[in-house]
Symmetry: C2
Amino acid sequence: MDSGVSVARQRPPAAAAPDFERWARGELAAVEQALDTWVPADAPAGLGEAMRYGVLDGGKRLRPLLVLAACDAVDGERGAAMRAAVAVELIHAYSLVHDDMPCMDNDVLRRGKPTVHVRYGQAQAMLAGDAMQALAFEVLTPLPGESPAPEGSAGLAPALQARLVALLARAAGHAGMAGGQAIDLASIGQRLSEAQLRDMHRRKTGALLQASVLMGAACGAAPAPVQAALGDYGGAVGLAFQVVDDILDCTQASETLGKTAGKDQEYDKPTYVSLLGLDGARREAEALRRQAHAALARSGLGDAAALLALLADKVVEREN
Amino acid sequence: MDSGVSVARQRPPAAAAPDFERWARGELAAVEQALDTWVPADAPAGLGEAMRYGVLDGGKRLRPLLVLAACDAVDGERGAAMRAAVAVELIHAYSLVHDDMPCMDNDVLRRGKPTVHVRYGQAQAMLAGDAMQALAFEVLTPLPGESPAPEGSAGLAPALQARLVALLARAAGHAGMAGGQAIDLASIGQRLSEAQLRDMHRRKTGALLQASVLMGAACGAAPAPVQAALGDYGGAVGLAFQVVDDILDCTQASETLGKTAGKDQEYDKPTYVSLLGLDGARREAEALRRQAHAALARSGLGDAAALLALLADKVVEREN
């Protein structure tokens, strides 16, 4: 038997493999359009301008892509998923606006541009972040007759609205992102164990990435075991993202990252690199990639989860 | 005919008039208990402590009382209303935590205690406020089997959860409270027209007070015209509250207010007093009280709205 043929048989035919880049380009354009529709230009006294500056025209939009790929995997309501994608990106963007402020990370550069507080002042930056968090929950709960009403008002049943709010609020709040940031603040100059570091990152970064997957999955009618497997996938991808972030912070230049590099070491923050070394951190990222793929295999979704599998690879292989 | 008898006939019997103080004492104790249950002590790295400091043991709890009185007026689901009461108070409390920070009003005294940023630092104060906003939406969307599950998980149907989130998020966000604060920031040292001042206050303070009434009303099955009349009542009470706030800021001592008095004049902020004078502002508050009562009369709720009527009086007559 020709081993080349054997290998070819084990692979799905090339036509069945999704063209990831093409899919991502299309979805990113749709997400940008939805954000542009939803984030108001006319909020009073410059607030809308600061909100739009903080969220439009920048960012990898990884969380929206996770929402949309998970929805795709379970054949869910795409319109509902687009609202979820906008909402989760608003929460992510608000957290960056607040995180960059002088009393937190005091960062002046984000996505290659001056940060919101540098551009609009601290008070407006704080308000813009606050309003972006509220807007996330507005987007998930459309009111009858309200405009703008882009695609997705239909198919967003009240029970799904409530479920999406529940997932997003918990990922954003004290048990998730905000709690992780509090640990982060308290850990400067401290030596954390690997378990403590993992707990911090699972909350600070992982919770919102995992919620992205769960929100996308909630837009379909997948059985509980499938949703649980997707949750495991989201947890592994979420942690992998932060491990890679730690690696990039000490291996890449600021121009590549679009934000100030080397901040972790400057602020004496515990990271996967400081704990495990660069090689150890890279091994950890690979292990999490394998966990993500194993969770997708457990989900039984097969080819339907191909985009999620590719997203896990992109998270680990990214260079900024 | 004896005119004394005639007057007695026109009034409801004394026993039918609600004992406002007794009702308020009972409800305030229940709200305090619910807040204590819901605001976590165990959030990581001191975040829970800062959140609890920012919301427990202080404040007039006017918004929760409006929620509960409105629910009472339409014979709504009390457990659902208690969750709404906690949620709206969390939004109010977070806005005070952020508003007091150095980049905003730079206030060191609130409810007679050092403000959150003075006690816990600016970074923790910002995070605590952020987590309080998220927690408000967590409280409105209980997950099955989640603890704590105080009274009120039953009766909170998904459609009601979605409706409460929609009302609260819009009142908190760019079109409501956050938008009003942005106008407030931009108006320092400016001369506003009465219409501009009213718009600012309707957003900054009025939106959340009006939402409190609407959220309470949503817990019952009142017809749309009744809900609309209650919305008008909430709008008038919300604006009256701010007019009285402006009056108290220049007539009361810091000890009575539990916060620094005279800040409006010090910061050259436009207020109802600076625009209309003290007597003019008092007339405006009385006019809004009459509007509130007229809206209750339009609601057709009769005696069922007695607590709301008394709350409008308390808002106008308060001394701190």
